[in-house]
Amino acid sequence: MLRVNRRRGDRRPRLGRPARQVVARFAEIVCPPEIRAGHRTGDVLAEFELMLGALPPATRRALVAAFLAFDRGARLYRPARGQRFARLDDQVADAYLRALLRRRDGLTALVRRLRGMVAMCYYELPEVKEEIGYRPGPYIAAVSRRRLESYGPEIRAGEAAVLAPDPPVPGPGLAPDHPVPDPGQGPGAPGREERR
């Protein structure tokens, strides 16, 4: 139940079917209603799986376990009438989530973290960014052009200075018994590894 499938050569870990169901249902409750209207649940899941792939295996397993526990825990919530979270209607699912967030204990912190992760995935979708007026690509392109047009020669000089020799740091040495050697070309060269 807690397994995370991994397809050969694919960086994105795949949630098992039960976990996918729970995360998808969770996303429909915590994200704005447009997630359903825009048929975005699958995209949010894909983004979530990519995010899982960046986490250490232990954290990944813990998060999946947390989602499944959240799902099963709904059975203990009286209005759920013994149903899992994934099977609840919107109103009861929302009430269950709200009840957990009201507790203000360790469980609340965990549920809030799950909520935050899924919301984060939703607001990373390009169409959602577009809807809220966040269009950084054209802006970045425009100010980058302005930068080069305004300061091109200074920028090129500054970049070249990175490799230029420095004057020695003034003042006495930190260990005066050992003189500072002249800066020079280092002996290390790429590709000197010895294979054994």
Partner: protein, 512 residues
């Protein structure tokens, strides 16, 4: 996208079998401390190998896709926790260039009173303002530290300044390591123009040009030694998806650890090193931050203009800094308490929101433990005094926002209602704010391998040499014996320049 890889840089995809490498100095980590050391030592003709756990991501690969950045440039997706009540969310860079690739680029010298404290309380030598001045100057020259060009200051920063001015508070423009920054507001996703002079575009290429070798995608497991003599490091390349790849064994006479205040003590501990001071992994300071989101009537478009153009310094003597920090929508949405329809309504106003944060110079400390099977884990419990300072910082930030014209504020306290005017704010904060309700985060982690000349008080000496272990050094923010109250990058770089000079002067002693 095809990009050229600098000569001397080896990535996991280049490696098919186990590698054995000989060098004079092995440096673990390529961030502010490690890359600076590498550049200095290579400048002096020393044979340097740098091992970096993260990948090589060139400037051309940086976009405004925040989740992609979190996955590729940060450790554990940028969502690590220092456990406590409340836990503190923190982020560390994990890529070639380290956290300098994803920080805001604030470059400030260590406050003189901090240097004085380190000298007088810990006996750290050669650390006075005069001693450090040439190293700060060199760091600032190499990294093009300067004020922003005025056309790049965004409306969110202007509003914070308006609020501070209305309150009569001292607010100053930020000094940043930037070469005519374009103001893309993409610092935390990697600078897409290369204007931010991170280690990726400064000390890493400088070191490589002088013959240093860099192995990316390689996690160091252990520092190796033969009785009391350091012999190098061993690690494994990391394949996509975290799968273990071939082994890398580096034989060196000197090892310099620069993995940051969490990973550095963890590596030292799992390699079996102990400090007579008992301070290894202890003394974790983290400058707790709290964020206030303000809604304005006007269009702010906070993602236009530079990240953090100003800092409110009025309260720096009390250990509080305030600045405007625009958050990308996904990060903002993850942090607010609203969900469902309410979240949609809130985020529809994204371009009218200013996010500003306060940073608190902490007095309490946490620690790092190495948990077998899980890895390093940070623990941190905020003190009552620091919690009170957080509340004060939030109050001041909120006052500045209202003075600038905010109509509604979200506060970083769980269960706190939105506030709509200064009266509501004061009424709310008149009641005690439980520590456990505070939503705290940080990117400044310091102090887990502290400097002191006294081996019973510190892990390393004044120049980062591990007490009692010749050939082993530390060069990152874990050196700090205490918090510094400002952005730590320039301090790390200046200390690395100074400590590199010391090591170069003593190179014959280490046979490098």
């Amino acid at each position: 996208m095809t990009t050229s890889v600098p000569a001397g840089l080896t990535q996991q995809s280049d490696v098919t079998g186990n590698l054995h490498v000989e060098c004079g100095v092995a440096i673990v980590g390529s961030g502010a401390g490690g890359a600076t050391m590498a550049a200095e030592l290579a400048d002096a003709g020393i044979d340097v190998v740098v091992i970096e756990e993260g990948g090589y991501h060139p400037t051309e690969s940086f976009t405004a896709d925040s989740n992609r950045a979190l996955r590729t440039l940060y450790r554990d997706g940028g969502g690590e926790l220092a456990l406590g009540r409340p836990s503190v969310l923190f982020a560390e860079g994990r890529c070639v260039g380290g956290s300098t690739v994803v920080n805001g680029g604030m470059s400030w010298r260590t406050p003189p009173q901090v240097l004085h404290r380190w000298a007088t309380e810990e006996g750290v030598t050669a650390i006075s303002e005069e001693d450090m001045d040439p190293y700060f100057a060199r760091a600032e020259s190499r990294l093009s530290v300067a004020l922003q060009d005025p056309e790049t200051v965004g409306r969110d920063s202007e509003l914070l300044k308006k609020g501070a001015d209305a309150q009569g508070w001292r607010i100053i423009p930020n000094r940043r390591n930037q070469l005519h920054c374009a103001g893309t507001n993409n610092c935390t996703n990697g600078c897409p123009t290369g204007a931010k002079r991170s280690m990726l575009v400064t000390h890493v290429p400088r070191a490589l040009a002088r013959g240093a070798r860099l192995f990316a995608d390689c996690r160091v497991d252990r520092i190796t030694r033969d009785s009391r003599e350091i012999t190098g490091v061993s690690g494994r390349f990391v394949r996509p998806g975290g799968r273990p790849g071939p082994r890398l064994t580096v034989h060196s006479r000197v090892v310099i650890v620069s993995g940051g205040a969490i990973q550095t003590p963890a590596l030292l501990m799992r390699s079996g090193f102990r400090s007579a001071s008992g301070q290894l992994g202890r003394g974790l300071y983290l400058h707790p931050n709290a964020m206030v989101a303000g809604f304005f009537d006007e269009d702010v478009t906070g993602w236009h203009g530079v990240h953090q153009a100003f800092q409110i310094r009025e309260f720096s003597d009390d250990g509080i800094l305030i600045t405007a920090v625009n958050l990308p929508p996904s990060v903002l949405a993850a942090g607010v308490r609203a969900y469902g329809r309410e979240l949609g309504e809130l985020m529809a106003a994204y371009n009218r929101i200013v996010t500003a944060g306060c940073l608190v110079e902490d007095t309490g400390t946490g620690r790092v433990r190495y948990v077998p099977g899980l890895g390093p884990q940070a623990f941190y419990q905020i003190t009552d005094a620091d919690a009170a300072r957080v509340v004060r910082g939030v109050r001041l930030t909120a006052q500045a926002m209202f003075a600038a014209g905010a109509r509604r504020l979200l506060l970083p306290f769980d269960g706190a209602p939105d506030v709509h005017d200064p009266g509501e704010l004061e009424a709310l904060l008149a009641r005690p704010v439980p520590k456990r309700s505070m939503e705290l985060f940080t990117v400044h982690l310091m102090g887990t391998a502290r400097m002191s000349e006294d081996p019973h008080r510190g892990v390393v000496d004044s120049f980062g040499a591990f007490h009692g272990v010749p050939g082993l050094f530390v060069t990152d923010a874990s050196l700090f014996p205490g918090p510094i109250g400002i952005n730590p990058m320039e301090t790390i770089i200046a200390l690395a320049l100074r400590n590199a000079r010391r090591l170069i002067e003593q190179r014959s002693r280490h046979d490098i």
